[in-house]
Subunit: 190 residues, 2 copies
Amino acid sequence: MKILEDRIRKDGVVKAGNVLKVDSFLNHQMDIQLYDEMGKEWKRLFEGVPVTKILTIEASGIGMACIAALHFHVPVVFAKKSQSVNIDGDVYSTKIESFTHKRVYDVIVSKKYLGPEDHILIIDDFLANGKALEGLIRIIEESGAVLEGIGIAIEKGFQAGGKLIREKGIRLESLAIIDSMDEKNGIVFR
Amino acid sequence: MKILEDRIRKDGVVKAGNVLKVDSFLNHQMDIQLYDEMGKEWKRLFEGVPVTKILTIEASGIGMACIAALHFHVPVVFAKKSQSVNIDGDVYSTKIESFTHKRVYDVIVSKKYLGPEDHILIIDDFLANGKALEGLIRIIEESGAVLEGIGIAIEKGFQAGGKLIREKGIRLESLAIIDSMDEKNGIVFR
């Protein structure tokens, strides 16, 4: 998606350790007009797919999932990263290792909001090694829901996650795929 | 706001300890059409107010802040609940005590995304004792930005937060204010 690639080139900052900082427009400050264009593009890419619900994970996936949901006319459920006293005990639960935060999270979704009747589109901001997506997929499998596809804003194509997901036969639409990046030579998109 | 009050009456669940569960439509599963109506209503209430940015706090404020931002045509910044390796060191920081999670969070906003040129509307899902809002207000004061107002989905009018905020002379628009609630007699709106 050209406007997202252009924006990453303009405002993204490549840091040591394969870190791409996009917090000026994507995951701390959020450019809602850009989110709206991204939502339209996912709707175009998944046209005709019978999505009944969008699933994302807190915190940085929530905003773009909600704006995308306006285009799909479906509710959003976000997976929570730790048990809250306001969530009933009856939850799907899995552990996810975070590349960004260097720790393991317990991730939960209430059983009330995910079941065999649901056709799920997952939306998230980043795909790198795929650990977060694999966790969400495990939760969807446990619920009996149908995973219709995955929409990602930025895929780090030089890490294994995208390949692993596509090899499972899951439809994955990443709006920008980075094949290489370094502080000196900048970003190369697929 | 009648459609929000009706929805709380229909799908909200009152639990012991002044807990109102609205996770079927507001803060776990999210009804995006309802969010869109809430965004329109905040835009109507704050018509003419020179908002340049919406500030919220992760995680459950993000979705409604983003949908509201589509109506205000401004970006959203969300305060993060703990230091991430992907945030630069130069941040505003404060501590917030959470009623829901019974713990104290460090909350941060990058100095790059909040400064004296900004006119801020805070959006959040709940107002009870006001600890989260007070933390966001401290961050705004430290940044030199102008706080133009606060939009809340559900205010627990029987707790002190709303009164404290209004006594500071801050414009506070809560879409539903609950004056009392209990498991037996249900919910009374102001």
